[in-house]
Symmetry: C2
Subunit: 337 residues, 2 copies
Amino acid sequence: MKHVTIIDVAKALNCSISTVSRAFNDKYDIRPETREKILKVAEDMGYSPNPIARKLKQKCSYNIGVVVPEFLNPFFPEVIIGIQDVFLKKGYQILIMQSNECYQTELENLQTLVDNFVDGIILSLSQESKNSNFLQKLIEKGYPLVLFNRVNESLAVPKVVFDDYKWSFFATEHLIQQGLTKLIHLAGPNHINLSNSRAQGFMDAHRKHKIPVSNKNIIETGFLVVDGERVVAKLISENMLPEGFVCVNDPTAMGAMKALKHHGIKIPKDVAVIGFSETPMAELIDPPLSSVKQPTYQMGEVAAELLLKQIESNMFNIPETVVLSGSLSVRESSVKR
Amino acid sequence: MKHVTIIDVAKALNCSISTVSRAFNDKYDIRPETREKILKVAEDMGYSPNPIARKLKQKCSYNIGVVVPEFLNPFFPEVIIGIQDVFLKKGYQILIMQSNECYQTELENLQTLVDNFVDGIILSLSQESKNSNFLQKLIEKGYPLVLFNRVNESLAVPKVVFDDYKWSFFATEHLIQQGLTKLIHLAGPNHINLSNSRAQGFMDAHRKHKIPVSNKNIIETGFLVVDGERVVAKLISENMLPEGFVCVNDPTAMGAMKALKHHGIKIPKDVAVIGFSETPMAELIDPPLSSVKQPTYQMGEVAAELLLKQIESNMFNIPETVVLSGSLSVRESSVKR
DNA sequence: TTTTTTTCCGGAAACGTTTCCGAAAATCGA
DNA sequence: TCGATTTTCGGAAACGTTTCCGGAAAAAAA
């Protein structure tokens, strides 16, 4: 599609392109009357500065890449909104990619963003992420990168995480304080940091209350509805149900509930269920699901600000980790009467 | 961040930049041995062609704008995945914007995309969209644009829609065929096409079965969970509950269910509920929600292909409308035993 | 009135590619 | 061996901005 250019505007006004450019950008070095005239004629002609030429000259793409494991559940979209609100104000565009919880797709997404010369990347690792070679190479090149939520501790890069340990501890304690002692943690994939932190919180809550607990109380499950459903169905078939489930996230909790209800097991009367990374649906399902609520919008804002700081400083900084806190929404699914 | 350029590679090889360019792009007009050597040295040097310079020369941004009303519910993210899969294969990047169901935000999103010289836009209107002046101006300029799902019939532009009328008819008929005659349609905003089509399907299903029906059976509600909840709470307080609700979408249906359950009204025993635009949660809530399922991924693919055709043809084409069909998932929420 | 200073504008280089056109070298045929 | 043809490569313009530097005109000061 043909665009009106600065050359067209200059010719129409019988002035130079640098004069037109100063009219659009300068706050000085142009006579006010000349500036008004240029802006008016440019608007009448439908001129709008070509961002591609500007970016070439300024050596900056004004694009930010955001890679999330998935965006069908509202958690990551809520974070993305926080990221967008910060960057759009600064004139950046956001390229959103989702990895469908697949490591290979995550790598392709990262490569695509790098090939497009994005100015920085904000990434949450997919369920299958194991190898950080690619990320390590980006970091070594000085590529601006921020990790959030699902991070890899070994990478020297700014991070925004949640206090998974603490809130998993509290969620577990909430059940223990109601007299439940036989609990199972439906954990996330073992190589993901937040899975381990949440599992650790689960264990330490038991230890604090001197309740026997072992690695058998932790079952590596996954992050998806089908994962929770599968594992709980298996436990039911083996007649090994606990008094309560502490789940790594809401989709897994919902899957657990689905399997329990399918077998006529009452929640929370027979088995209590508590989730994590609260979804808006937590309130709507029956019974309403207790869950740890995370400040997703703020997580996005903080991640964006960390990346902006990295882009603008153009210097090596000691990467910081921001740890966010949350709350526990107690609903029917975990309250024994 | 400093990038290796084609000039650096040419100097290292003591050849010209046009030779390096031909090595990366040509399939002819370069000696094969020269080409291999250039590609190897370029890789060793970490050279990657600068997409910004390429875009300036080719007068194409390779960016596509996608504007959706919201992306916290999985419907629009599922469509976006279809769009992305088509465009990423063709070397395009997708800029995803969400309007938070707000017309003003939608306009700002569109303006931002236009200012960034995107090559085309795929848009679904927000709940508040009323005025199409901005879109009409884009169309008049020949700007490639495709509307999907929530469209404005008066705009001469390619569209991808669903057979809302037909499936609303079938959903209503499903309840009527179980002997329900007192039904209410929780409708979307009146100025949105699919709201009217779904309302019309609801009416005509009654007429087919010669059941009295009037405009009082249609209540303009909205698209959100809180909308359904508010309207049904009001009906309960006025003691004006129907035998069944046919809802404009799943969030509204879930809100309706929430209000009914809050007042101890049993679903579907006392009041049946049926939704539309099936969300994965439909199966998880209690009772599982009947809903009209739409082919979201296909909707994205078709929208992307229509836009690609428009971008590549560079000619005026008579805009086509693709109408997709779906299915009705019958679950407990609408089955009277 | 003259000299000095300031303001405003224009010209051109630069950003990093693509691609066209011409020249030099290589190849082929007589 | 020479002329004709083909192949391969280099130089430079172009894409549309930004920005630097210099010059002309205007304004101010002596």
